[in-house]
């Protein structure tokens, strides 16, 4: 370090040193505005196309400077996870910290490289700005502080869940995914930005942000409480829900959505079953209304309605044709996705509240609808979609051509099903995948090898099955052929009493949908294939078995394009009859649960009015 010689008084000529300044260039600063540095945190820019209105920026704003403003012209779609809200900034409050940028799930917000905004007194409200991509003054200053990998505060990667490898899972029906342990669950839950897009998208509007937060705080009991506020099929939905929440999740726009379904599953598995029952019973009415409600079908819709109605003090009897409750969840979904003991738990919670289920009671045979109308104050029809549709191509009436729903039910019921060494499945939805993977397991057990061919009309892009299902099916050795139109079942030369199936003949589908996205298949007849298989399983669609209504009731009821006509509350045109679930909404567990709540609320209102009138 050079010591500073302050003692040096200098000489007489010392001041002349400063003459050197005459030779130096003056320091000047240009007056023109210049863009700030590449990272500058200036005024907000917001790309409205990318912004989904999730309001995370508003939530993290330290100064409450952000107000979400509804823009009626913008699209709003809860299913896609898009709100027509956009952030408006009050620059009287903003401190330009850019946390809004760093926590923005989509990356739509950035800050510009513009320094200055001034205004006259009369324009003071110009400090309240609804930014778009053009910036505060409409002059296109470039982006400054924007989303970067370094500064991104959104955790984009999902916590991995352990699952069985294809080779380990194919020989049996054990559940494939392991579930999160508490540590994994907390890490996964902590990725949530609590925007509530999931709540909007969920058919039954589960309080997902709340239960995720409870899990995050290490309180699974509270999570269970939040879950039971809207969904008594908690174990079921924790495993096989169609998770629209995850499709709408704002984190999913750039990363993997929060594993909301697995988190629900974690909470349900983490809390002791007896404790779950106690939590589910919270808020149960301490009186009996004296009203009796009959529910036809113990599936998700019927039991959800029963759960609600029992909690409201009504007496509920569920009539179930099968030996066990759960409906399609039990009889349609294979055990490796939905272990039966978890359905037992869901059902046990519901029955523990006082719901009575009469098993092996088939309405239409053991008891008629007319009797139900006579004996109960209200009747709910939740009979699902149990009739498998057939392609009705030539040969499809053979006994070796099966319907997927029938086969899955037999497997679930542990009826002996003889599966040949090679099978062809027609269909490209989740049921097709379920039946193909079930057959593959049975084949593996019997023959030690898998030979299943799935043929679907749709091309892979338009498959109705979950991509995950398709991937896993392929991993298990199932051949999936897309865009194949079934033409005919082929038989072996007749040697036996019964015709032996040889396989399925298909044509290539050139295009399945027209330009409006509706079904209009075109075939390439030259591309013909024969898929060999000793059994053909049709998994193309399902319908409700409405015969139980009887001719008279069928005539009295109003119908809507083949489905029972119901209003927004699930009411049919008859005052005592409601309908819910797959039979009116189409197949989906969580929609059925939502529907169950809807009819229960409607019935409760109806019964209360009756009460008042009496």
């Amino acid at each position: 370090m050079r010591d500073i010689d302050y003692k040096d008084k200098g000489g007489v000529l010392n001041p002349l040193k400063n003459l050197s300044f005459f030779g130096r260039k003056a320091v000047t600063v240009p007056l023109e505005p210049r863009p700030a540095s590449a990272n500058y945190r200036g005024f907000h820019l917001n790309d409205w196309e990318t912004c989904i209105g999730c309001s995370t920026c508003q939530k993290v704003c330290d100064n409450a400077a952000i107000t979400m403003v509804r823009i009626p012209d913008l699209p709003e779609d809860p299913v896609q996870g898009i709100r027509n809200l956009r952030p408006a900034i009050d620059y009287g409050r903003c401190c330009w910290c850019a946390l809004c940028v760093d926590l923005c799930p989509t990356g739509s917000i950035s800050l510009s490289r513009e320094y200055v905004h001034t205004c006259l007194d009369s324009e003071l409200d110009s400090y309240f700005v609804l930014p778009d991509a053009k910036g505060i003054h409409g002059t296109p200053y470039p982006k400054g502080w924007a989303k970067s990998e370094d500064a991104d505060l959104v955790a984009l990667e999902r916590e991995r869940m352990e699952e069985l490898e294809p080779a380990e899972r194919i020989g049996h029906f054990q559940e494939i995914v392991a579930g999160y342990d508490s540590n994994q669950a907390i890490i996964e839950a902590s990725r949530c930005v609590q925007c509530g897009m999931c709540f909007d998208a969920c058919p039954t509007h589960m309080n997902a942000p709340e239960y995720i937060r409870a899990i995050w705080k290490g309180d699974p009991e509270q999570a269970v409480r939040e879950i039971y506020r809207t969904n008594p099929f908690a174990h079921t939905c924790g495993r096989v829900c169609t998770h629209r929440c995850e499709d709408a999740c704002s984190v999913g726009h750039r990363g993997t959505p929060i594993a909301i379904r697995w988190l629900k599953r974690y909470a349900m598995d983490a809390v002791d079953h007896e404790r779950v029952k106690a939590i589910a019973a919270e808020g149960k009415a301490r009186f009996l209304s004296g009203k009796r409600v009959a529910v036809v079908g113990a599936g998700p819709a019927g039991l959800t309605a029963a759960f609600d109605l029992v909690k409201q003090g009504h007496e509920v009897t569920v009539l179930e044709a099968q030996a066990k409750a759960g409906g399609m969840v039990r009889y349609g979904i294979p055990d490796y996705r939905m272990p039966p003991d978890r359905i037992d738990r869901d059902v046990d919670v519901i029955t523990s509240l006082g719901v009575k289920i009469q098993y092996q009671t088939r309405v239409g045979k053991d008891v008629t609808m007319a009797e139900l109308e006579r004996d109960y104050d209200a009747v709910i029809l939740t009979i699902g979609l149990w009739m498998g549709r057939s392609t009705r191509i030539p040969g499809s009436d053979s006994p070796r051509v099966k319907r997927a729903v029938t086969l899955l039910r037999d497997v679930a019921d542990q009826v002996k099903v003889s599966i040949p060494a090679s099978v062809v499945v027609i269909g490209g939805g989740n049921v097709a995948m379920d039946v193909a993977r079930t057959v593959a397991r049975l084949q593996k057990q019997t023959f030690g090898a898998v030979k299943v061919t799935v043929t679907a009309l749709e091309d892979l892009e338009h498959f109705l099955a979950d991509p995950q299902e398709i991937k896993e099916a392929r991993e298990e050795g199932i051949e999936i052929l897309d865009a194949r139109g079934p033409q005919e079942i082929l038989f072996k030369p007749r040697k036996y009493e019964v015709d032996k199936v040889h396989g399925l003949r298909t044509w290539r589908v050139l295009s399945i949908f027209d330009d409006q996205g509706r079904f209009a298949p075109r075939y390439d007849e030259a591309d013909e294939q024969i898929h060999e298989g000793e059994m053909v399983i049709e998994a193309i669609g399902q319908a409700a078995e409405v015969d139980l209504l009887g001719e008279d009731l069928t005539e009295r009821l109003e119908w809507m394009r083949g489905r029972l006509k119901v209003d927004g509350q699930g009411r049919t045109n008859l005052p005592w009859l409601w309908a819910a679930g797959d039979m009116v909404r189409g197949p989906d567990v969580v929609s059925a649960v939502a529907d169950g709540h809807r009819v229960a609320a409607s019935i409760n209102t109806y019964l209360s009015i009756q009460e008042d009138a009496a």
Binding site: R389, R392, L464, W507, G541, P587
Partner: protein, 167 residues
């Protein structure tokens, strides 16, 4: 009714003026409408909508064709003599016509109706293909186009009904 369709095809082949062709086409639609109308009370109420829609649809076709026949501006052309070519009808085997029993279900009715539209479409198309460009060719093409549209509509309904959700 399939037989009816084939015979009307035979009739069309034999006819010599556009008016006659339109007349046969009209009667073809009318008979279809009557068939569906008769079927309405025979099916369950839950599938009745399919048959009702089909009957209404056929009535619309009929109205369209009769309107065409009655139009002044093409009256001259309609009267013109034409020679209809002989064509072989090609029946697509991807459409399988089931026997409609006494009380068919929605799928059976739809498959039947699709088959019917398919036949009509094929017939008009082969008639159009084998006529030289001109008003008759245009009329056949138009009729074939109409039947194609009907069939496409039916296929959409079929997919929505039978492949319901498809899951």
């Amino acid at each position: 009714m399939i037989e009816g369709a084939v015979s009307s095809y035979e009739k069309i082949k034999a006819k010599t003026s556009l008016r006659d062709i339109l007349d046969v086409a009209c009667s073809f639609e009318a008979s279809a409408r009557d068939f569906y109308t008769d079927l309405i009370p025979k099916v369950g109420k839950n599938v009745r909508w399919v048959v009702e829609e089909l009957a209404a649809e056929e009535q619309e076709h009929l109205d369209l064709l009769s309107g065409l026949a009655g139009r002044e501006d093409i009256a001259e052309q309609i009267k013109a003599e034409v020679r209809t070519p002989a064509t072989d009808s090609r029946f697509s085997d991807c459409v399988h016509l089931p026997d409609l029993g006494p009380s068919p279900d929605d799928q059976a009715v739809l498959q039947y109706a699709m088959g019917r539209e398919q036949i009509a479409m094929e017939h008009y198309r082969s008639l159009a293909e084998s006529t030289a460009p001109g008003p008759i060719h245009d009329l056949f093409s138009f009729l074939a186009g109409e039947e194609t549209k009907h069939k496409t509509e039916l296929e959409k309904v079929y997919y929505e009904v039978v492949h319901s959700g498809g899951v």
